[in-house]
């Protein structure tokens, strides 16, 4: 029970600080919207059918938006010197990791909730919501991929927080580690936004889901176990 209270205390503190400072969410929302507007003009979305590229465009916007937020996920701990306060307290390091990761997942999800409808209007001729059966797999893919990004991203952000060039380190370390998340995410989102789904595409979506689930479980468990060393070094 104490572990759950500690987890909630850290998560609540992160949400409260974000609601008060709005440092992370505002920059993430601005970035994702700007990216979509630029894509809209660059690909002349009104003239061309971009259904094939939809998944890719969506995740290019999401991954860099996520990095923008993840880079700031330890800003209060580092800039206000509060990381020592967390390390000093009798909280299992895996609890700190899970709380920070859930906080990042919430912030990423908030941005996605705002961005997906706009993206659909801009780029998709046969939006997924016309095919109600597509909604479930699309959202599940979104949640699984975001979980992976938040999980690995929080880990890399912790490493980066202890360096002077944290803005640089996160994409350099994070992008290669997240490739196994991005490829399936693009496949799932693309297939679900593209109208009718062929048997071959449905099979590919199923395999992609399995890859995401396996990735999320493996990385979540491994990082939670080694987080003590990550924070300690």
């Amino acid at each position: 029970m104490l572990a759950l209270r500690q987890l909630w205390a850290i998560l609540k503190k992160d949400i409260l600080l974000e609601l008060r400072t709005k440092e992370m969410i505002v920059s993430m929302l601005l970035f994702v919207m700007l990216t979509m507007v630029i894509f809209n003009y660059a690909f002349e979305a009104e003239k061309n059918d971009l259904t094939t590229f939809g998944g890719g465009l969506l995740w290019v916007a999401f991954i860099f938006t996520s990095f923008l937020g993840l880079n700031r996920s330890f800003v209060h701990e580092k800039d206000e010197g509060c990381l020592d306060g967390l390390l000093l307290s009798p909280v299992d390091r895996s609890i700190i990791y899970i709380a920070k990761m859930l906080g990042n997942l919430i912030f990423i999800s908030v941005v996605q909730i705002a961005a997906v409808p706009i993206f659909t209007i801009f780029f998709i001729r046969y939006p997924y919501y016309i095919y109600w059966s597509h909604m479930g797999p699309f959202l599940l893919g979104l949640v699984l991929a975001s979980f992976g990004i938040a999980g690995v991203g929080t880990f890399v952000a912790t490493l980066a927080a202890n360096t002077k060039r944290r803005d640089l380190l996160l994409p350099i370390l994070g992008l290669p580690l997240l490739m196994p998340v991005l490829a399936p995410a693009v496949i799932i989102s693309g297939a679900m936004m593209g109208g009718e789904v062929s048997a071959r595409a449905a099979e590919l979506v199923g395999t992609s889901m399995q890859i995401l689930i396996a990735y999320d479980i493996v990385f979540f468990v491994v990082i939670a176990l080694i987080y003590d060393y990550v924070l300690g070094e």
Binding site: L2, R5, Q6, W8, A9, I10, K13, L16, L17, R20, T21, H76, E80, G81, C82, D84, G85, L86, L87, L88, S89, P90, V91, D92, G232, E233
Partner: protein
């Protein structure tokens, strides 16, 4: 009985050795003041003892528990007041105490926080963001934060740094009120303050202990001279 035992403690950052075979002990209820020039390794020593940093080598036993084996249990019994208040600027004074109280599993958080806010004379500012506090007020709140879980052992890293005389009185009064049952290690540059509060003194120079004695075993002028030489040596 020793409350803190340190044996052959070493700490390196890369090739730089910050602590070199540091060994000492502090009895339960004792008050050790550590002096030394900047960069001597004092803060690193306190960070290791308070489980924030990991030692490269050596053995540390706190309250009969070995650091590295029982770190979580040790953390429940120690508190740290440093020149960095470890407070979230965009949380209120009460929210900071509530946050740390929850992390430490304190029961009756509200009552304990109110009691400490009263002791550090910040009750009237309890709902104000720490961002609006002066340095002295933030440091007073940091004292309350460190005492929230009633630690048995207190590490004080230059606790008087940046405090106005009123805040110094509050800190010294609080320390005095909990003397006896608590064990203290204080890092300071303030010779008078350190000497008056402690029952044993230590000087660290370049990561090594060059003097460690009970206060009544050493002449104050002799101690002052040794400290001056250490500071000159590092300079």
């Amino acid at each position: 009985m020793h409350d803190i035992e340190v044996e052959n403690l070493n700490k390196s950052f890369g090739r730089r050795r910050v602590l070199k075979k540091v060994s000492f002990s502090v009895n339960k209820g004792g008050f050790l003041s550590i002096f030394g020039p900047n960069g001597a390794g004092k803060t690193t020593l306190v960070k290791i003892l308070s489980t924030i940093e990991k030692p490269s080598d050596g053995r540390v036993v706190i309250s009969q528990m070995v650091l590295g084996e029982d770190a979580t249990e040790i953390r429940k019994r120690i508190g740290l007041i440093s020149h960095n208040p470890l407070l979230y600027l965009d949380l209120s004074a009460y929210e900071n105490l509530e946050f740390y109280g929850t992390l430490y599993g304190v029961s009756g958080i509200k009552e304990r926080a109110e009691e400490l806010l009263d002791k550090v004379e910040l009750t009237h500012r309890r709902h104000d963001m720490v961002r609006t506090f002066s340095k002295g007020m933030a440091q007073r709140l940091a004292i309350a934060r460190a005492l929230m879980h009633k630690p048995d052992i207190l590490f004080l890293d230059e606790p008087h740094s940046g405090l106005d005389p009123h805040a110094v009185d509050i800190l010294d009064g609080l320390l005095e009120s909990i003397r006896g049952n608590h064990t203290f290690i204080m890092v300071t540059h303030d010779l008078e303050k350190g000497f008056s509060l402690s029952d044993s003194v230590m000087i660290i120079e370049d990561g090594k202990i060059i003097l460690h004695k009970q206060k009544d075993e050493i002449d104050k002028d002799e101690f002052r001279e040794t400290y001056r030489q250490a500071v000159r040596g590092m300079g």
